[in-house]
C-alpha cells in the first residue's frame, strides 16, 4: 500500500455519510428493530485499519450527528460511540489479527456495549421500552460485519490501486 495518509480521507467520510443514511432508511415494520448499527460498525472498521489516524474525536463527532439525526437526547450516541471505539482502540492489535469469525464475535461484544449504553441512557431519560428486541441490533451486526468489512476492504484496495 503506497497511499499517503491524505488519500482515502474522502472514502472514510463517504462511508460514514452512507452509514448515517442507512441508520435512517425506513425498514418494513417487523424488521425495524433489526437494523444493524451501521455507524459504529463503519467506525470500528476504520479505527482497526488506521488506529493512528482516526480515533475518539471522529467517533464522538459522528455519534453527535447521529443524535441530531435521530432526534434523541444529545450526547447519547456520542457517549456510546466513544466507549465502543475506545474498546476497539484499546484492543486493536489483537482484534486486527483475529480470523474473521473471531473478529465478528469481538465486534459483537463492542456493539453489545454500544447498545447497552444507548438503552441505559434511554432508561435514565425516562422512555425505555424493555423487550428482548433490544438485542436484535447485535445479532444483525454479527451478520453485517463480515459483509461490510469485506466490502470496505475491497473498496479500499480498489481506490489505492487507481490512485
Amino acid at each position: 500500500m503506497t497511499a499517503t495518509p491524505r488519500e482515502g480521507h474522502w472514502l472514510v467520510v463517504l462511508s460514514l455519510l452512507v452509514a448515517l443514511s442507512l441508520e435512517l432508511t425506513p425498514l418494513p415494520g417487523e424488521l425495524a428493530t433489526w437494523r444493524p448499527p451501521w455507524l459504529v460498525l463503519v467506525m470500528i472498521y476504520w479505527v482497526l485499519r488506521y488506529p493512528r489516524r482516526y480515533g475518539l474525536a471522529l467517533a464522538w463527532t459522528s455519534g453527535l450527528l447521529l443524535d441530531v439525526l435521530k432526534g434523541g437526547v444529545l450526547g447519547q450516541h456520542a457517549l456510546a460511540m466513544t466507549i465502543a471505539i475506545w474498546l476497539a482502540l484499546r484492543f486493536h492489535l489483537r482484534l486486527r489479527v483475529f480470523p474473521v469469525w473471531q473478529q465478528t464475535m469481538a465486534v459483537g461484544v463492542l456493539v453489545l456495549a454500544h447498545e447497552f449504553l444507548v438503552f441505559w441512557v434511554d432508561g435514565v431519560a425516562g422512555d425505555a421500552l424493555v423487550s428482548w428486541q433490544r438485542v436484535t441490533p447485535v445479532l444483525a451486526a454479527l451478520i453485517a460485519w463480515p459483509l461490510m468489512s469485506g466490502l470496505l476492504s475491497g473498496l479500499r484496495a480498489r481506490v489505492h490501486m487507481t490512485t
Binding site: 425506513p26 444529545l74 447519547q76 466507549i83 482502540l89
Partner: protein, 301 residues
C-alpha cells in the same frame, strides 16, 4: 491484512493525552451534553445549527420514497388517472355540499353562543406538511417533517390528518421539524367524550392501534364505540378534533378505575401528508359580526 503504513506505527513517544484520558474527557462531555439537553433544554441552539447541517441526509434518505411516488404518478395509465380524477371531483362536490350546511350551522352556533354570552370559536388555519420517509427510533413514535421554522411552524403545534389528531411538534429547526405521535408511550392527549363531554386523558402505549384511558372511574358513563375528541384543555390541541374511538371497556368490581382502551382514528402509520393547525388563525367574519368583537378575548389563546 495489508502491511502497515508509516503513520500506523506507534511513535516512540506518545504526544497529547493518553487514550484513556481522552475517552474519559469525551465521556464527561457527552454526559454534560445529555444533562444540559434533557433536563434544562439549553442545547436548542446547538441542535438547531447541527440539524440544518444534517438535514440533507434526511432529504437524501427520503428521496427513494419520494422518487417512487413520483414515478408511479408519471407512469400510471391515463384512464386510471381519469377515473381517479372523476372520483375526486365527486368527493369534492359531496364535501362542498356538506360545507354549505356547515356555514349555516356555524352561523347558528355563533348566534347561540352569543345568546349564552360565550366567546365564539374561530376557524383554524392549516398548512400541509409532508412526513419524510425516515425511521428515527423503533422504540419511540417520532416523525420528521419537511417544514420548519421558515414556514412559521412552532413547537407544540398540533398535527392532524383527514381523520383525526396525529400528534404535536416537539422540535423545530429552520428547515425541518420533529413531531411526537399520540401513540408514543410518553404522550398524553387531553380528550373528552363526544357524547357527554366527560373529560379525561388518553395515554399512548407504544402500539399504533391502541391508547389507554386509565383515569376513568368504574362508574363513568363510557361505552365501546364512543368517539373521543380533543378537549382543548392544556392548550396543546385545538378543541373538537377526533382523537380515538373506544374499543374496550372493562369494569372490575375490585378496582376503582375502569380499564378502557381506544383506537386512534387518524392513520398514524400510513399516509405521507399531515396538516399543521394554527389555533384560531383566521378570524371568523360571522362571529365578529354577531358578537361585535367579543370573540377576541377568548377563542384563541
Amino acid at each position: 491484512m495489508s502491511p502497515l503504513t508509516q503513520t500506523d506505527n506507534k511513535p516512540l513517544f506518545d504526544r497529547g493525552p493518553s487514550l484513556g484520558t481522552r475517552m474519559v474527557l469525551l465521556a464527561i462531555l457527552s454526559v454534560a451534553l445529555m444533562v444540559l439537553d434533557h433536563q434544562q433544554g439549553h442545547m436548542e441552539t446547538v441542535r438547531r445549527a447541527l440539524s440544518v447541517a444534517v438535514y440533507p441526509i434526511r432529504v437524501l434518505v427520503d428521496m427513494p420514497a419520494a422518487t417512487f411516488g413520483w414515478t408511479r404518478e408519471s407512469l400510471s395509465q391515463r384512464h386510471r388517472l381519469v377515473t381517479e380524477n372523476r372520483e375526486l371531483r365527486m368527493e369534492s362536490l359531496r364535501q362542498r355540499g356538506r360545507l354549505q350546511q356547515l356555514a349555516a350551522l356555524r352561523a347558528e352556533n355563533a348566534r347561540l353562543r352569543a345568546l349564552m354570552e360565550s366567546p365564539a370559536k374561530r376557524a383554524d388555519r392549516m398548512q400541509v406538511a409532508e412526513i419524510l420517509a425516515v425511521d428515527l427510533d423503533p422504540y419511540r413514535h417520532r416523525i420528521a417533517l419537511n417544514r420548519g421554522g421558515q414556514s412559521g411552524i412552532y413547537s407544540g403545534q398540533a398535527l392532524v390528518d383527514a381523520d383525526g389528531i396525529v400528534g404535536q411538534v416537539t422540535r423545530v429547526s429552520p428547515l425541518g421539524a420533529e413531531a411526537i405521535l399520540i401513540s408514543d408511550p410518553s404522550h398524553a392527549t387531553p380528550v373528552e367524550l363526544n357524547r357527554n363531554n366527560l373529560r379525561t386523558v388518553a395515554l399512548g402505549t407504544g402500539d399504533l392501534m391502541r391508547m389507554e384511558l386509565p383515569f376513568l372511574p368504574n362508574s363513568a358513563d363510557i361505552r365501546v364505540g364512543d368517539l373521543l375528541v380533543s378537549s382543548g384543555l392544556g392548550d396543546a390541541f385545538p378543541h373538537g378534533y377526533p382523537v380515538a374511538r373506544v374499543t374496550r371497556v372493562e369494569r372490575r368490581p375490585g378496582e376503582s378505575f375502569a380499564q378502557v382502551e381506544a383506537e386512534p382514528t387518524a392513520a398514524l402509520n400510513r399516509g405521507r401528508q399531515v396538516l399543521l393547525v394554527w389555533k384560531g388563525g383566521e378570524t371568523e367574519p360571522l362571529a365578529t359580526e354577531t358578537l361585535g368583537g367579543a370573540g377576541d378575548e377568548g377563542g384563541a389563546p
